[in-house]
């Protein structure tokens, strides 16, 4: 079973994303900010990370940069999922090694479509 880490400071969003991803066959873990996500990732890197941008303690971009530097850190597929919807943010995310980008609000179709494109499902 593929593993997934959902990183978002909103419990509601984590819950919605978890429902969608579990239905798609992922074993899900959650983190409420970038630092917590980094701790989880150090124990074991997930196959897939759904990543919010703006969070307290450590934001999504900082997490991505740190995670990519870890041994094996180039492997996880990272998809941003954020209210930041301007092209500059998207370009910055891609430049930092994000694989895909979802602009909130999202739904199950959008997540499924992106995962299909990325070959994860």
């Amino acid at each position: 079973m593929k593993t997934c880490l959902i990183v978002d400071d909103s419990r509601v969003i984590r819950k919605v994303a978890r429902q969608i991803l579990e239905a798609l066959g992922f074993a899900c873990d959650e983190a409420e900010n970038g630092q917590a996500a980094l701790d989880v990732s150090k124990a074991k890197l997930p196959d897939f990370v759904l990543l919010d941008w703006n969070m307290p303690v450590m934001n999504g971009l900082e997490y991505l940069n740190a995670m990519r530097k870890m041994p094996g850190g180039s492997k996880p597929v990272v998809v941003f999922c954020t209210t930041e919807n301007d092209i500059n943010h998207i370009q910055e995310a891609l430049g930092s090694g994000a694989n895909e980008y979802i602009m909130k609000p999202f739904d199950a179709d959008i997540i499924r479509g992106k995962l299909e494109q990325l070959g994860l499902i």
Binding site: N85, D86, I87, I90, L94, E100, I110, G113, Q117
Partner: protein
């Protein structure tokens, strides 16, 4: 709605577009025709039926038909046809048309244009191979509103996230406001959109090397499907390709085409020498 009114509207829509409305779709008819009645300053659907019985007013009949079309579409819908286009059909045509260096593609029932623009994006990705080639992509739809939307190339944030890889979004679109994105002029110029009715109007004028007619035949009855497939065959090159939607086929409907084994949704003309099973 009175059954004779339902009958009147559904017959009109079928005659003009081929779209079939069964009695269980009465709610759909009502919800979509109310705005049309309002636009024409008609109080109720009953009155609208009366107006039509008195005189066959063209703009009213046009609006009723347009309102009953289902226009859902998205970029790279089903992915597979676009991979097939890029990896198989384009290379075949690059070899077969090396003298003329011209490829003509028709997106029939193009709706808001995502299918045609997806093809254009693939062509740009393959630009190296297409240098000195003339690729024409034509999109037609019965709905004026959809043709205008397609021409504008403007899509909502929701639409650009369905099927479109974000790398393509960044490369081929510009953000015109927070949640509105417009396809860049360089892509827009590769595609022409026009109004066109699949039942009557084949002035989009072939011959075409590739025809995509996806997710529209499902709304037609058998004779209409056969008629449309026959007309498409008439505007296709003998060695051209036809792509249908996932739930559509030519099997048992038209002998003008044959399926290509192993390639779901791909068809070639009956006389084509392309390796295919009957």
């Amino acid at each position: 709605m009175k059954s004779e009114d339902f009958e009147l509207f559904s017959t009109l829509v079928k005659q003009r577009s081929g779209l079939i409305l069964t009695a269980d779709k009465a709610y759909l008819l009502e919800s979509r025709l109310f705005p049309v009645a309002r636009k024409h300053n008609i109080k109720s659907l009953e009155d609208m039926a009366q107006v039509l019985r008195a005189r066959r007013e063209e703009t009213l009949m046009f609006d009723i038909t347009e309102a009953m079309t289902t226009n859902e579409s998205f970029f790279f819908r089903d992915q597979k046809p676009f991979t097939l286009f890029q990896k198989t059909l384009l290379p075949k045509l690059l070899a077969a048309r090396v003298d003329k260096k011209q490829i003509r593609i028709w997106s029939a029932a193009a709706s808001s244009g995502q299918e045609a623009y997806s093809l254009a994006m693939v062509c740009v990705e393959e630009a190296v191979k297409l240098q000195d080639w003339r690729v024409e992509i034509i999109g037609t739809d019965i709905s004026r509103e959809m043709v205008n939307r397609a021409k504008s190339g403007i899509y909502s944030q929701f639409e650009v996230q369905r099927g479109l890889p974000v790398t393509h979004l960044v490369k081929y679109f510009q953000q015109i406001s927070g949640d509105k994105w417009q396809i860049k002029d360089s892509i827009r110029q590769m595609v022409q959109f026009r109004e066109g009715n699949l039942l009557t109007d084949f002035s989009a004028a072939g011959p075409f090397d590739i025809v995509l007619c996806r997710n529209v035949l499902i709304y037609f009855d058998l004779p209409t499907k056969a008629h449309v497939l026959g007309s498409i065959a008439g505007v296709m090159q003998p060695d051209g390709f036809l792509l249908l939607g996932g739930a559509e086929t030519v099997l048992g409907i038209s002998d003008k085409f044959k399926i290509v084994s192993g390639e779901h949704g791909l068809y070639v003309k009956a006389e084509s020498s392309y390796e295919a099973v009957a």
